[in-house]
Symmetry: C2
Subunit: 747 residues, 2 copies
């Protein structure tokens, strides 16, 4: 596909870009003004105890800081960055391990065996083909039915068992990490809480509160404390957002007034704004007066909307609180109703991860939504290929210069031409894929999932299948340039669409694309992780915002406030890389060092970022791991099928010896699911029974599980008062149906 | 396949046989001496309160008794025959309902539509074929691409939705039956008990008893009562069996002595026997002395073996007892260990249903055994076909008379010839299948399943796939006579083996076999249920045994002692009938009345037998239902695929409208599994929390969960004594490692 020279150019350029970005990092992160960009997580952490300390006081040079994060133990990493980030970093390490141990056999054994044969040479002589030198160190250079193929067959087994062994070890390790994390004495509100879905309609003379209360009071008389009916937020959420923005604008206007004071006149210039949308049109008014007035107006409106939400928008779902961890863990894994579509009790997630809109979605609706989303996903996965093929066809150099003749001047410089030729298709792919995550997240949310972490995993799963189908198979089976129509026809002709023809197609089409994927991996790794480390984009954004928009301290903070890892494009992309690497590991072992570099750099960079940059939005307790585990196994499975096909093409009579491998993979996946998955689905009672049972005040748990727009403002005080009363006599006091406000909180 | 005349002969003969068997039942069941054969369950029930009453005193005429069992409500049925038998009877009723409601559309609408078309006639004229008159009322008689096919398409939807609706209703009904049964005040030992498997090896200075005790003591401090380590039975079981037989022989010898006394001399003749195997050779000895001696000899040996079993043969499994139902139900659905292959806690089954040999089988071994059993099952299912095809080829009349010329004389009588021709292939099939259940039960036991009910279900599932593959598909796809080789070749040629070609084959081959299967169903129904009702075989066996072998009262009792339903050939066979009926319901609606008769007669007969004849060996709490439910859905799925294929052959352009049906079936199966299955897997805590919590003495639960050979004999007293002591201070007293005997019972 790609010629040797453009291959080397591509690799060299990627390395250069990485080197440049690394220098940017070294240079920029030294400067004190950039510290909020490079060390936001540390700054945030430090600000918690004392607000006064100047940011970045104790932060040392980038080298020291890198050494520090390198030396941090995994438990420290969990403590600093949270379990989810630690699991993500551990995934990169696991991938690195798998590729390293695979390389130990494949590089020193298979490459010499391939290089000393001469299949391609003899083919070239007979058919005037021109295979590049890179292809001579892959399995394609071994002659048909040669005894050398035994080494590659052993390579297949080596690869598979290395993967099984390391994955098993890794799953056990993550389970133990998770257990240690749950076992901590530090109590979290979700440990005492369960979510109840699909509550049947209450009896006629019974309120929701009474219904839920009496149900759990009867089943858990000693441990059940309190329930909170989930209510729709209605307009309260909108009013709340308006209020927040009014507060922000008021603070900004005051800050502008202060600034103008110190600079020119002692009175200062009172800022003004227009009342229309985005302040673009309408009457000019005094900002401070306008926003103060607005806040006064909104306050009673918010209260009213809160009351209305609590009384009118009740949904068939509730949050229930227990007085100890064990009881909540037990309730979350027990069946409370004969029919599982009623009174479904689930362990509560991190309260920040609740998708409030979806909690009230009923069971039949969830079924329908799931089907609709799956169908849409299926079509997205299959038919996104068409525009990608179109883009790939467009972005060949000849096409581009034809459509955009002014490019000729640039392309004529030989180096530039080679670089563009090497990168264009990959860049097109990467840009195209950048649009996808948001679409998939929105789709997954529509499924009716109630935990944000689950939404992210569902979207990540969809994206993995998308990239495997479109990037990996799309590029290989249907070719980068437009010879796709034939393959599709061949594949989908009803008569021949069978498992066998699929295996053959894998075997035929994958191997020639090895060099293409090596450049793809290198580009993704060096440029992606280079950008990640150097944080060029956030750096520019921060300085732009700081200079032109931020007036108040809070706005500056918002400008550098750390985000969490973006698991959705990261995880499926990393999974794609390991899938590609595993698929080619035996057929074209040259890919292995590049896989090593990708995950080595990735591990190093992300470990650093986890400690210095990112702060989790919410915790899922490492639930990403089973997802990652099974996707790596999918990659291995694809790899085994590819090998079967390719060995078949090589007319190797002992190819049937590879046949057990896919079955072993399926079996391994099944055993892992049976043995390890329950530890992620449920809280093991051995874990919650041990150790100190610190119990936090119930009110804090209730507050954590109330949506912000319903909690704060005027109602906050009322709510807490009401609560403290009901805490003491939670069991004797039944909710009175006239209690208004956030009365969803049934005693 | 079968001509119209032999078809009618076959149906008529089957009906005659049923009528004759019914007369046998009416005649024989009236006679007092036969009552132990026809009403054993009632006799057994009556014997429980008072042993003295003469058997069968209050039993009225067969008509009255049939009316009585007809009038019994379902709850009464559960009370008399147990939940499992009630669920089996309910399955027959459900099948009847499905077929009835399907008939409501298919018979009055589809048959006239088919009968008034003339496809077959025109085909016959053009190709000189000879289709029988029966075929003219099936879909085959509708012309290609005729508008009449719309009615059949609607029939497909009608059939599917009738099945979904009735199955949903039935699942809910069975769940409620099960809940009522569990909710009963009558406490059963298994409600307070859990089984623990896969216990890791104990620490070096710790005994198994201490390990298990401290683990559960820590996790369930308030509800855990006691544990019993499972021990291998070793030789104890063998010695126990010898002892039992010695006791039996002694009693028999004494009875013989008594008999001889009364008849001839006052001294009587002391019976003698030979000491060799089966009393066939060896020295002649006085029986009474010999067996008394033997018992004396065996008693200390049994004690010794019991002690050895308890101390030396401990397995990594235990039975644990709780002090209330709720705690046991909770423990049975909680995850006790981080890794699910350790400390697996399961709800205990009926103690009589425990497969003691398998409890100690470790997790990795179970995985291996499962794979091996599945592979063997696969080959059994696929390659049993070969001998069946062979038998089918042999048993055509021409072949038989060729090989066995003396048959000619009989066959020459026209009626006999027709009967033999109609029945031979079916009889061959039925005989062949009779060998199977034992093989499959043995195979399923080897999987390492620890509940007998589970073993039966696993064997039944295997047998279902066997009969569907071999009887249903084997007969249809590969033809009754030897044109099989072509089809197999066609199906397995690698290039064309695909879903599409399978659908085509279904469509091509199934329809012509409708009449064959009508005779098959009629024969199975009339003869099978006729034999069941008339109990001819048990009647003859009972009288033979009573006359020639039974000397003591106990032996007579053993001779008529009622068994439980034989679910393993019954359930898969009934499932095959409903699969066949569903598959042909739309294509050849004539099959529907015969399906109605099969399940009508079956329901009537088995309801009767459940109340008068069979007594459950153990209870599984209706766990057969999910198994039955999903197999009926498999039948529906096969039916939908067949329709797709056949509509395709008819060149009906709107065949794609049938395409959603198989997907709806898959979706329906998935939803049912999610919503209804948990009620069978776990005990819902709403069910165990309500109602009286009668707690039986712990000792009775412990005795129920000790294998007989380890429980009785000399050790019984010791065991109970030890137990009563530990009951009071179960929590304070740790087991001392020197406690011998069945000391597996750790306090």
């Amino acid at each position: 596909m790609t010629s040797t020279s453009s291959f080397i150019t591509s690799i060299a350029t990627s390395s250069l870009i990485f080197f440049a970005l690394f220098l940017v990092f070294l240079f920029c992160s030294r400067r004190k003004g950039n510290r909020p960009v490079y060390y936001p997580a540390i700054l945030l952490d430090r600000r918690a105890p004392s607000d006064s300390k100047s940011p970045g006081g104790v932060i040392r040079s980038p080298w020291t800081s890198m050494k520090e994060s390198w030396n941090a133990s995994e438990d420290e990493l969990v403590g600093i960055a949270g379990l989810d980030a630690a699991v993500y970093v551990y995934f990169l390490k696991t991938a690195l391990k798998i590729i390293f141990w695979t390389s130990c056999f494949c590089l020193p054994v298979l490459i010499p065996i391939a290089a000393t044969d001469n299949n391609l040479q003899s083919q070239d002589q007979s058919s005037a083909g021109n295979s590049s030198r890179l292809d001579t160190i892959s399995m394609g250079n071994v002659q048909n039915n040669s005894a050398r193929l035994w080494a590659f067959l052993i390579g297949g087994y080596w690869l598979s068992f290395v993967t099984y062994y390391i994955l098993r070890q890794a799953y056990r390790h993550v389970i133990e990490l998770r257990a240690r994390d749950q076992h901590q004495a530090r109590a979290r509100p979700e440990q005492f809480t369960c979510i109840v879905r699909d509550i049947p309609p209450p009896a006629e003379n019974e309120s929701r509160e009474e219904q839920v209360h009496s149900f759990f009071q009867q089943l858990h008389p000693e441990t059940y404390e309190k329930s909170l009916i989930v209510t729709g937020q209605g307009k309260a959420s909108k009013v709340w957002a308006e209020m927040e923005s009014a507060h922000g604008n008021l603070a900004k206007a005051q800050a502008m007034l202060e600034q103008s004071k110190s600079e020119e006149a002692s009175e200062g210039v009172r800022p003004q704004n227009r009342t229309g949308k985005f302040g673009l049109y309408g009457e000019k008014v005094d900002s401070i007066d306008y926003w103060s007035e607005k806040i006064k107006e909104l306050t009673p409106k918010l209260t009213e909307e809160q009351n209305r939400a609590a009384t009118e928008k009740q949904k068939g779902a509730a949050i229930i609180f227990f007085n100890n961890r064990r009881a909540a863990a037990e309730a979350g894994q027990e069946h409370h109703s004969l029919f599982a579509d009623k009174w479904q009790v689930l362990p509560a997630p991190d309260p920040r991860a609740l998708v409030w809109d979806n909690i009230g979605v009923s069971f039949p609706q969830r079924v329908v939504r799931e089907i609709v989303v799956y169908v849409i996903t299926f079509f997205t996965v299959v038919f996104y290929m068409i525009p990608i093929g179109f883009v790939a066809a467009l972005t060949t150099l000849e096409n581009l210069t034809e459509y955009l003749p002014f490019l000729n001047a640039i392309v004529d410089i030989p180096v530039v031409g080679a670089v563009i030729e090497a990168y264009l298709p990959q860049l097109a792919l990467i840009l195209f894929l950048a649009l996808l995550p948001k679409l998939l997240l929105a789709l997954s949310k529509q499924e009716g999932l109630i935990f944000q972490g689950h939404v992210v995993r569902a979207a990540s799963g969809k994206m993995y299948y998308f990239v495997v189908f479109n990037v990996f198979l799309g590029v290989t089976l249907f070719g980068t340039l437009f010879n796709s129509a034939d393959s599709i026809k061949e594949l989908t002709r009803a008569q021949t669409f069978s498992f066998n023809s699929l295996v053959n197609l894998f075997g035929e089409r994958l191997p020639p694309n090895a060099t293409y994927f090596i450049t793809y991996i290198t580009l993704k790794g060096f440029v992606g992780f280079g950008l990640e480390l150097s944080r060029v984009v956030p750096l520019i954004m921060f300085h732009l915002k700081k200079r032109f928009r931020c007036k108040t301290e809070k706005e500056v903070q918002d400008a550098w406030a750390p985000r969490s890892f973006k698991y959705i494009p990261s995880v499926p992309n990393d999974l794609l890389v390991i899938t590609i690497t595993l698929a080619y590991a035996v057929i074209a072992p040259l890919i292995l060092p590049f896989g090593l570099i990708y995950f080595g750099v990735g591990w190093f960079v992300q470990r650093n970022q986890a400690q210095r940059v990112y702060v989790p939005e919410y915790e899922t307790g490492g639930r990403m791991w089973p997802h990652i585990h099974s996707r790596i196994l999918v990659g291995l499975f694809v790899s085994q099928i590819t090998m079967l096909g390719y060995f078949g093409l090589k007319k190797f009579p002992y190819v049937f010896l590879l046949l057990p491998l896919p079955f072993i993979t399926l079996l391994f996946a099944r055993i892992c699911r049976k043995v390890y998955y329950p530890a992620f689905k449920y809280v093991t009672i051995a874990v919650v029974s041990e150790g100190d049972n610190e119990v936090p005040p119930l009110s804090s748990a209730v507050a954590a599980f109330t949506p912000t727009c319903l909690l704060e403002g005027a109602n906050e005080v009322k709510f807490n008062n009401k609560y403290d009363g009901s805490l003491q006599d939670a069991e004797s006091q039944l909710p009175s149906s006239e209690s208004p406000g956030t009365a969803a909180a049934a005693a």
